[in-house]
């Protein structure tokens, strides 16, 4: 049922101590969180803010100094809860002497999945993460992105209800990062809950339903992304099929002023670099052999639109 709380922490605290019990660092202080079924939850924060500590506490890899964490109603240290969890660590900590098939077979065994089912799932996941051609290569020969993909596959081998992803787009190129984000969204569509922590804020903004921001082990902000990012003191207006003339700008300013406001800026919206990059890559696939002409061969572009046309104009693209 949507809205069920499946992860809960109450005053969860973690203090790292040395062997003699002397306090080294307070990694997490009295964290109260609730994560609901079917949502994508983002954990944000600078390095050392306690994101990974929180995840490791939830997974039972660390023990709380105080407070408690429950996952699916069970204490975090109870290994039986792991039946329903898939975990992708920040670096793919996998055995590099195994190949992709053996890796998934090994982790499948740990879930007591029967051999035939294990083999079928492995093949399906290898195809899903795009490693079919490399399934017999040992992981030592994989690039970081490929290891991240097989890492994701092992996290999904048990068809988990809760997927915990630590920096899932780390090591992936923009195409891979987009693929990963689409996959995470797809997991949510399947009713799974996703907890992810990431430094790439645009990733979090794109796909997370709710986020928590940590700094120095303390919770600083917590809630729905839209609500947290909404600036109720500002108004944004977007329009299409109308040229931005001085007259239009003047009229807009007058209307805003009439309602007691102040215009900060009026101009053309810019796309994100990620979208622009993806569009270029897609087009290069559609037109194989195209390449960008050197600056000296181009006519000077007078407007951004003309510059864009230069790239898209077939006459400006030289075949190899």
């Amino acid at each position: 049922m949507a809205g069920d709380v499946i992860v809960s922490t109450v005053r969860l605290t973690k203090i790292f101590r040395d062997f003699w019990g002397r306090q080294k660092k307070t990694a997490l202080r009295a964290l109260n969180l609730e994560i609901r079924r079917g949502e994508i939850f983002g954990l944000l924060g600078p390095n050392g803010s306690g994101k990974t500590t929180t995840i490791k506490l939830l997974l039972g890899l660390l023990f709380p100094t105080d407070g408690e964490a429950t996952v699916f109603g069970a204490p975090a240290a109870d290994v039986r809860k792991n039946e329903k969890i898939g975990y992708l660590p920040e670096e793919s900590y996998l055995y590099r002497f195994l190949n992709a098939e053996e890796t998934l077979d090994f982790y499948g065994r740990l879930f007591n999945i029967p051999p035939a089912e294990r083999a079928a799932k492995s093949q399906k996941l290898i195809e899903l993460v795009g490693l079919k051609a490399d399934r017999k290569r040992i992981l030592r020969e994989y690039s970081k992105g490929m290891r991240q993909r097989i890492g994701l596959a092992q996290a999904l081998i048990n068809d988990p209800d809760l997927v915990i992803l630590d920096e899932p787009t780390s090591g992936l190129d923009p195409l891979g990062a987009r693929w990963m984000k689409n996959l995470i969204a797809e997991l949510r569509n399947q009713g799974k809950t996703v907890i992810m922590c990431s430094h790439r804020l645009e990733d979090v903004q794109d796909i997370c339903d709710r986020i928590a921001i940590l700094a120095d082990g303390e919770l600083q902000a917590y809630g729905e992304v839209k609500a947290l990012l909404q600036d109720i003191n500002r108004v944004e207006l977007r329009a299409s099929d109308v040229p931005l003339t001085p007259a239009l700008r003047k009229e807009l300013e007058e209307v805003i002023r009439k309602h007691g406001g102040k215009v900060d800026s009026v101009g053309h919206p810019t796309t994100t670099l990620e979208d622009y990059f993806l569009r270029i890559v897609e087009e290069s696939k559609a037109h194989p052999g195209r390449r960008y002409l050197p600056e000296a061969d181009k006519k000077p572009a007078t407007t951004p639109a003309a510059a864009s046309e230069q790239i898209q104009d077939p006459s400006r693209i030289q075949d190899k």
Partner: protein
């Protein structure tokens, strides 16, 4: 020396199990006590805190009922340990007083301390073992098998097998440097193969297993594993079984190479001595007519090694001859149905005069059963002559069966050569009782010192001595002329490999358990030191019980500084008394710590193969039990260390 086995310590038999268990439980006590102190301490005092990388009691004692149980067991164990120390102290005090009255007090206090130690150990076992067993209920063999395969594949893919090619180099060139007497050839090759294999395998096993879990933790691969529904102890078992599997495979291959190496081009003399798997039937040795003797030992000829004792030949003094008597229990019908049964022996010769050149020492061997009537020797001889005159096909066998008597009048004994006598099977037929009444009679006679079968050995050479220990004479239960010597030798060769296999299990188990909470280097070193310490266990035991010459470390220091020799009694001064008292405390500590050191001498079985003796199956089983008894507490410790460890804490 070939042909006989030297047993400075009797091999373990299944009958030793109750005594071994009693001692084992007692030895567990002090360690369990420390363990329970830590468990209770972490659970009650520290709560959810961590001690080093050891985490809170929630993980170590996951059920509420476990905490009071451990607390009660701790108190019982503590009380038992204190009681044990008290009774031991009283026994020690009583032993210092002279008189028979105190001897009973010593016995009483020793028994009481033993019982108290057993109770303490039992409480410790329950306190530490119950949460462990409870945790083991959740283990899944499929997951353990997955982890075992992983360890196996890791070993194979990391190409550690290449190390073992070094053995081939040793075997290829060893014969360049070894020259032996022909009869020693096979034994030398067997020992060479064992000598080449043992350190190589043990070192590799220790190295691989000590670094496995620490590497997993350092590379954080263990985090991906432990976020699956995997019990932490499954990782320990998986690693252990994986490396044991790998080493077993290597051992089998190396043994195949070894047996082929040993069996190529055997000298006939070596084959006659060692290319066998004799199944010996040992009797019990006693001595008769020894001057000032008690029956348990023969004469001493002043040899430093007191393993053997001696009987003399005629010395020109009136009196009955000195005899060595081996007593055997009732034989099996298999022996009785055999035409001939071989009796093999090898005695040490001690000469007091030069004797005759190129001649050994003569002895006679007399075989009698419980039915034999003393004084019937002449009648037996007469019957033998009668049968021989009548051209009976087996006169000796018939006389033996009829009288329960067979004598070899004279047999030459040569140094370092196994001699044998073929005994008629009729002797054994005579020894088997025909009904319950006869059996009763036989048992009654056995109580009076007349064994079902007895072998009496007398030295016939004047002024010479023959030295013997119990295993120096035996009857062959296997058929000496049965053939298939190569096959049985090869089977025995592999049986002896079980000894090395158990040593490998021990090293791997020790290293894996230690590595659950130590770095690889430390686990490797401690495991190695403990294992090597096992070879010096006898000496450590002597130190622990004050049986070594020169006293404890402080007494030795006093001797060094006062230039007193090791055997000389020390002058009783304040310094000496203080040193000896502190040494006593040191001994108590060593006695406790000594149990951590494995008794590896049980596992060495190469001597059996080299001497051509079958390794009894019961001995293999007992060795396995000893191995389990040693490793089990280590695995319990590993369970707690792994369970309580914060895997993702700073490494």
């Amino acid at each position: 020396m070939l042909g006989v086995l030297i047993f400075e310590r009797e091999p373990l038999t299944l009958g030793d199990i109750p005594a071994l268990l009693w001692v084992w439980v007692q030895a567990i006590g002090p360690f369990a006590l420390i363990g329970m102190f830590l468990l209770v301490g972490i659970t009650l005092r520290f709560g959810k805190w961590s001690l080093g990388t050891l985490g809170g009691g929630d993980q170590l004692l996951p059920r509420k009922w476990m905490r009071p149980l451990v607390l009660v067991c701790l108190l019982v164990c503590l009380a038992g340990t204190i009681a044990r120390a008290y009774f031991l102290a009283r026994a020690s005090a009583a032993a210092n007083l002279a008189g028979i009255a105190t001897s009973n007090a010593v016995t009483f206090n020793l028994v009481a301390s033993s019982i108290a130690g057993f109770v303490a150990g039992l409480a410790g076992l329950v306190g530490v073992g119950t949460p462990f067993l409870y945790g083991c209920l959740n283990l899944s063999w499929r997951r353990i098998w997955g982890l075992t395969r992983l360890s196996f594949m890791e070993g194979v893919r990391r190409r550690i097998l290449y190390v073992f090619s070094a053995l081939l180099v040793v075997l290829m060139f060893a014969s360049w440097f070894i020259s032996t007497k022909p009869e020693y050839q096979l034994a030398t090759y067997v020992n060479l193969v064992a000598l080449a294999m043992t350190p190589l395998l043990l070192f590799a096993a220790n190295l691989v297993s000590a670094f496995s879990i620490p590497a997993d933790i350092r590379q954080q691969t263990i985090q991906t594993v432990l976020t699956k529904p995997v019990e932490r102890f499954e990782v320990v078992l998986g690693r252990f079984l994986g490396y044991v599997g790998l080493m077993t495979l290597i051992l089998v291959v190396l043994n195949l190479v070894g047996v082929l190496y040993v069996l190529r081009g055997i000298d006939p003399e070596a084959a006659a001595t060692s290319l066998k798997a004799r199944v010996p039937w040992y009797g019990k040795l006693a001595f008769e007519n020894i001057k000032d003797g008690t029956g348990a030992r023969g004469e001493s000829v002043g040899r430093e090694w007191e393993y053997r004792s001696y009987i003399s030949g005629p010395m020109g003094v009136e009196g009955p001859p000195a005899l060595a008597v081996w007593s055997f229990p009732e034989p099996s019908s298999t022996l009785a149905n055999r035409g001939r049964v071989r009796c093999e022996f090898e005695f040490d010769i001690y000469r007091t005069t030069k004797g005759f050149e190129n001649r050994g020492v003569l002895c006679s061997l007399t075989y009698t059963t419980w039915r034999f009537q003393k004084g019937n020797e002449a009648a037996a001889r007469a019957r033998l002559k009668e049968l021989e005159d009548a051209r009976d096909p087996d006169p000796v066998g018939k006389v033996a069966e009829e009288f329960g008597y067979y004598k070899v009048e004279s047999k030459t004994v040569a140094d370092y050569h196994t001699e044998f006598v073929e005994i008629p099977g009729g002797l054994f037929k005579n020894a088997i009782p025909k009904d319950a009444a006869e059996r009763k009679e036989m048992d009654a006679l056995a109580k009076d010192g007349i064994a079902p079968i007895a072998v009496r050995v007398q030295c016939l050479s004047a002024t010479q001595y023959l030295g013997m220990a119990q295993p120096d004479l035996y009857l062959r239960l296997d058929d000496a002329e049965g053939g298939a010597d190569r096959l049985w030798f090869s089977v025995n060769f592999f049986k002896s490999a079980t000894g090395l296999w158990m040593q490998l299990c021990l090293v791997i188990g020790l290293a894996v358990c230690l590595s659950t909470n130590m770095t690889g280097v430390i686990a490797f070193l401690i495991g190695g030191v403990l294992f090597v310490g096992g070879y010096f266990r006898e000496f450590i035991q002597q130190v622990a019980f004050g049986a070594n010459v020169g006293g404890g470390p402080l007494e030795s220091l006093v001797r060094l500084t006062t230039r007193t020799t090791m055997n000389a009694p020390l002058e009783q001064t304040v310094t000496t008394n203080v040193a000896q008292s502190l040494d006593e405390g040191f001994r108590v500590l060593v006695r406790t710590v000594m149990n951590v050191i494995p008794d590896v001498s049980w596992f060495g079985m190469t001597d059996y193969v080299a001497a051509g003796f079958d390794i009894p199956f019961g001995q293999v089983v007992m060795n396995l039990l000893v191995l389990l008894g040693y490793l089990l507490p280590w695995f319990v410790l590993a369970y707690y260390l792994m369970k309580g460890r914060e895997i993702a804490a700073a490494n």
